[in-house]
């Protein structure tokens, strides 16, 4: 017996799909339970945060250097971090910041939820516009980007008295302007 319960909206959708597509509704229900079980398992597995050494190794690899001393001298690193201010390499948060910017999403920050998180991305920590807009960069058209942006704008625009948020809207707007420049 499944440990999770299907929401009424899901059941309604299953019935609708079964009727329209002429598919067995039990099959769809089984599939829905399967998806829910997996997501439950995923959320129950709390991802471990990377150790400082792992963070360092990932950064070294990104800039093709052997150690921190070489990293500080690396021209590519100096260029990439121009404007980031003075970095304190003794602190783990510094390495986490560099990882977020140059490597990818930290394992313990995957599928984040809460303030500033859109589509699992904390927009104040990561610049991942395609994921935030829920689009595939290789296939998305200019119109797709615009549509996704307008949808998010409706939610986060400061004029929206219920869900509006200036800080989030500005980040979303910056993401939109950045990727639309590529069309």
């Amino acid at each position: 017996m499944p440990q999770v319960v299907l929401a009424p909206q899901v059941k309604t959708e299953i019935d609708r799909l079964a009727q329209v597509r002429q598919v067995d509704s039990k099959l769809l229900e089984e599939f829905a339970y399967f998806v829910l079980e997996i997501s439950k398992e995923k959320s129950s597995k709390k991802a471990q945060s990377l150790k400082t050494n792992d963070l360092k190794q990932a950064i070294y690899e990104r800039f093709s250097v052997k150690d921190t001393s070489e990293l500080k001298k690396s021209g590519a690193f100096r260029m990439a971090t121009d404007g980031m201010g003075k970095l304190n390499f003794r602190l783990k948060p510094t390495w986490e910041t560099l990882y977020r910017k140059f490597v990818g999403i930290l394992p313990n920050e995957q599928s984040q939820e809460g303030y500033g998180c859109i589509n699992g991305i904390d927009i104040f920590k990561y610049f991942k516009p395609w994921q935030v807009f829920g689009l595939n960069p290789q296939t998305a058209t200019k119109n797709d980007v615009k549509t996704a942006y307008y949808q998010l704008s409706k939610i986060y625009h400061p004029d929206n008295l219920v869900t509006g948020d200036r800080a989030i809207f500005e980040e979303v707007e910056n993401m939109y302007k950045s990727i639309i420049a590529g069309f």
Binding site: S74, G75, M79, D82, G83, F127, N174, K177, G182, F183
Partner: protein, 341 residues
């Protein structure tokens, strides 16, 4: 001796060191290979090496081409005269020379095309036009690279990696680094890929230097020009002409041997200024490709040698000035990456 330094650039002392041979033994091997009648091992002047100079008639100082270095290494390998380690050192030496050549080209491109460099919002920015010239590419190719980056998982961020300022697109150093990665991976030509790959290594110290070294003011330049004119006794150093009662039309100007736009940090340096007749000045710049074309003391020496070959004293003076200016350039460029060889 005139020879193509892009082809012949490997110094014999360094090649001998890499092969772990004393200079004399190395010379003997080269002499022997040069004199050999066996085509498979013979090395030839102008193909494998050129003679840069002679200490005396029997002792030439040779400069080798890549082919020459590999021919000697290959002969020593076959004859058992070289260890595997020394052969690896020759390959490393050749790689080093190759990298230094690329770095030199990148550095020159940066010097000549960083006039738009500005510091805004805690970042250094270069105009799109300058970036195109630094990567020695076209507007279309850069546009494609930018579009590809924007459609990747790690796009450039507006106002961080690129920005629009007064109708012009600017790239920050982080944007430049992203472009460098993109171009070094996607360009068709391996040579071009290698060039773009070296930009992030060479650019930071050069740009830092250009950003922190203030440009002399117009007043400072004017003072330096006046000083140079007095030093040259208000006489054209090429033609000997000067303005007097009978030559009222003569107009003297201070010519910047290293042009004042590209080498702005030398623009108020009296040693970099030569008093010449305005007509000679205009003629030189026309000969050099226009006033917008960058020039160095080498261009001026070339010009004088071709148009005024009888001016031996001037040519000698210019060569001496060249030495002085090279030292000053080296001092000013103290923050540049060290040569690796």
């Amino acid at each position: 001796m005139n020879f193509d330094r892009e082809v012949f650039y490997i110094e014999e002392t360094k090649l001998a060191q890499a092969l772990e041979l004393p200079q004399q033994a190395f010379d003997e091997i080269v002499d022997c290979l040069q004199a050999s009648t066996d085509e498979s091992i013979q090395i030839k002047e102008c193909l494998h090496f050129v003679v840069q100079n002679y200490v005396n008639k029997q002792q030439p100082i040779r400069i080798f081409s890549r082919e020459g270095a590999l021919a000697i290494a290959s002969y020593l390998d076959l004859s058992g005269g070289a260890t595997e380690f020394s052969l690896k050192r020759v390959i490393a030496l050749l790689d080093n020379y190759r990298l230094n050549q690329i770095d030199r080209r990148v550095r020159t491109a940066l010097y000549q095309n960083s006039s738009s460099l500005v510091f805004r919002n805690q970042r250094h920015w270069l105009s799109r036009e300058d970036v195109i010239r630094i990567f020695i590419t076209t507007s279309l190719r850069l546009q494609k690279a930018f579009k590809d980056i924007q459609k990747s998982e790690d796009p450039m961020r507006m106002n961080i990696d690129f920005e629009y300022y007064e109708g012009i697109t600017f790239f920050s150093l982080s944007g430049l680094e992203k472009l460098s990665i993109e171009l070094s991976l996607k360009l068709r030509s391996e040579q071009r890929r290698d060039y773009c790959k070296r930009v992030p290594t060479v650019a930071p110290p050069v740009l830092k230097f250009l950003a922190i070294k203030p440009s002399p003011t117009q007043e400072q330049i004017r003072k330096a020009v006046n000083f140079a004119k007095s030093r040259d006794k208000k006489t054209c150093q090429v033609t000997g002409a000067y303005r007097d009662k009978y030559n009222e039309l003569i107009e003297l100007v201070g010519h910047h041997l290293y042009d004042k736009n590209t080498y702005h940090y030398l623009s108020d340096e009296p040693d970099n200024i030569l008093t010449i007749d305005k007509r000679v000045h205009e003629n030189f710049h026309q000969w050099n490709g226009g006033t917008n074309t960058t020039c160095t003391i080498d261009d001026f020496i070339d010009y004088v040698e071709r148009l005024y070959p009888e001016k031996h004293e001037l040519i000698l003076t210019l060569h001496n000035k060249r030495g002085v200016l090279m030292i000053k350039l080296a001092q000013l460029q103290g923050t540049l990456p060290e040569s690796k060889d």
